[in-house]
Amino acid sequence: MAHIRLDNVTKKFGLHAAVDGLTLDIADGEFFVLLGPTGAGKTTTLRLIAGLEKPDDGKIEIADQDVHQWSASERDVALVFQYYSLYPRYTVRQNLAFPLKSNARNCSQAEIDERIARAAKTLRIGHLLERKTDRLSGGEMQRVSIGRAIVREPRAFLMDEPLSNLDAKLRESLRAELKELQMKLKSTFLFVTHDQIEAMSMGDKVGILNEGKIVQVGTPYEIYNKPKNIFVASFVGSPSINLMPAELANGHVTALSGKLKIVAPRSKTNGAVTIGIRSEDITVGPKEQVAAHIHDVENHGVEKIVTLRVDDQFFKATAPSSLELKIDGTVKFSFNPDKLHFFDAASGASRA
């Protein structure tokens, strides 16, 4: 169990800063998800915490101790790698036993057997123990990789997109299992992903990383409903948030070349803005305000995602699957004024 703190940490590769003045505070026993697009510096952050890279600047603390001088083996954190974490010439059992046989831990054989049995039961890999790891399916491999981490009973778990190579179904079930595991072990988890659904569904807290910098940290609710800027708003949510230019004046916001006019909160300053609205906050139906051309309809079972067009502006709305919608037809829609997001037109920062 441990509290992890990064204070203004910078790591450069050549001139390029992969992690740039990163400050992060992960509470003991928290499931923290680091979410960011590819190349954001997620892996680098984990490697810095694990001790595989040394920061050029800044401080890293694990359990309130500065670990700068500590080698990777002394830090007592487990790292589940994005790729290649298992040794192909070992069996699953040997892979699980490997961390326990190090001088740092020096477990007795009885204890090794016991820990492996316990981990195998938790991850339901008991039947695979004697198999070589190159004979495992992707999902089984991921479980064993996670198993290699949990047998150690480390102070913290660092996981680098452990579910990324799995099919959707398996990913969903492992997601639930991991979350359950964390609740059971009550240890600190730092989970890295570029999949926003994974982040939102698993994290107690989510940190959004972009170009080596933390953009926003918050609960999934905060990230989704109070995005700090356009980057965060468009990174989370599927389909992604609709963004369009608008004009704020005298308590009204005007968009879609004047066709749409909504009452805006008084506090907003006048001027050009970018408004954002999520598809589920657009209502489609015969009794709504503004007419739009139906450009495309995707059937998702429970609901339909309909792409609407007003003049040159496209946006997506969610409609109940019972609603009859024809491509190239017309339909009326309205925006839920309470769910409107306002961003600065120039900087993209939230104007909340």
């Binding site: 694990a50 001790g51 595989l52 080698s71 990777a72 083996s73 830090r75 954190v77 487990a78 790292l79 790698f81 790729y83 290649y84 974490s85 040794y87 192909p88 010439r89 490997f98 961390p99 190090s102 001088n103 740092a104 831990r105 190159d134 290699r148 150690r152």
Partner: protein, 318 residues
């Protein structure tokens, strides 16, 4: 149209197969000569056309391994009957094995063969271990001038070795390494090292660095991770490199000829030195060559499983 192409293709295939067979035959004919002559009676060794069917015998090998002298006295059936079978074979040829007291005198061949083994094995072990460690360093750690250093390592192979033979000879004479095992071991190690570094670097690059990093995070030191994880993964590369180094060291002729003459002489310069001016016994030469070919064949055969993956130089990924 399709028919024409396919029949043309077939004809081409036939021609290709026949030419390959022919080339193979030409390449294998010296081997055939060695393999058969080593077991022929002396009288059949140089017949024209070559004798294909004959009763193979072991006499050339007995001659190869022993010191012999011409019989000076007349053939004596009593001595013949009292001799062991291998001496009888020599007796048949009008010679006897030289003895000092009761001890059979061995020829120089076993000694030269041992020299070859010692020098080739030790220099291979050193070249491969040094190459493995160096390649690991190059592969895993960033260092200033990495590419230049690697190129420098390679550049030691650019000069034809024979160019440096004379200066090397003079230097060796000064430091007293002439005709010593250590002298040749150093020479062959140096000669193989650049090759070993480059080959091993390719194999090391193929091993994901995550393997060791996982071990580091799991509480192992870098050295432990190297021995426990990297070495077993690199075994294919090590085997391939070892075979190449061994073959180079085993077959080397020019330096061995120049740098050694007695104590540390290896088999390659020794075998041709046995070809006299007049009455050369080709069966003995052939048997010497035959034995000389065996270690490389055995070594390569023993490591064939690794070589099959190794010689593709990592073209096949796991």
């Amino acid at each position: 149209m399709a028919v024409v192409t396919s029949s043309r293709k077939k004809a081409f295939n036939r021609v290709a197969i026949v030419s390959i067979l022919l080339i193979t035959l030409i390449f294998l004919s010296p081997l055939y000569w060695i393999g058969t002559t080593a077991f022929k009676p002396r009288s059949l060794a140089t017949t024209v056309p070559p004798t294909v069917l004959f009763q193979p015998e072991i006499t050339p090998f007995i001659k190869l391994l022993t010191k012999r002298v011409q019989l000076t006295k007349a053939y004596d059936p009593a001595i013949y009957a009292a001799s062991p079978w291998y001496e009888q074979r020599i007796y048949d040829g009008g010679e006897r094995i030289l003895r000092v007291g009761p001890n059979i005198q061995l020829s120089q061949y076993p000694n030269r063969f041992m020299n070859s083994l010692i020098i080739a094995i030790i220099s291979t072990i050193i070249a491969v271990s040094m190459g493995t460690i160096t390649a690991y360093g190059f592969s895993r750690f960033k260092m200033a001038g990495e590419a230049d250093l690697l190129f420098f390592v390679l550049s030691t192979r650019m000069l034809p070795p024979i160019v440096v033979a004379i200066p090397m000879y003079l230097m060796y004479r000064v430091v007293g390494l002439n005709d010593t095992h250590i002298g040749l071991i150093i020479l062959y190690t140096a000669f193989n090292l650049s090759f070993s570094v480059w080959l091993m670097k390719g194999f090391m690059d193929e091993i994901p660095k995550e393997y060791e990093e996982a071990a580091l995070v799991d509480g192992y030191t870098r050295l432990q991770a190297f021995f426990k994880i990297v070495l077993p993964e690199a075994v294919t590369g090590i085997a391939a490199t070892a075979v190449f180094c061994f073959i180079t060291a085993w077959n080397e002729y020019a330096f061995a000829l120049m740098m050694t003459n007695r104590r540390a002489q290896t088999a390659p310069p020794f075998i041709p030195s046995q070809i006299g001016s007049g009455l050369t016994d080709w069966t003995v030469i052939a048997s010497g060559t035959f034995l000389f070919l065996l270690p490389v064949a055995i070594f390569t055969f023993a490591l064939r499983k690794h070589l099959l993956r190794g010689v593709t130089f990592g073209a096949i990924r796991k």
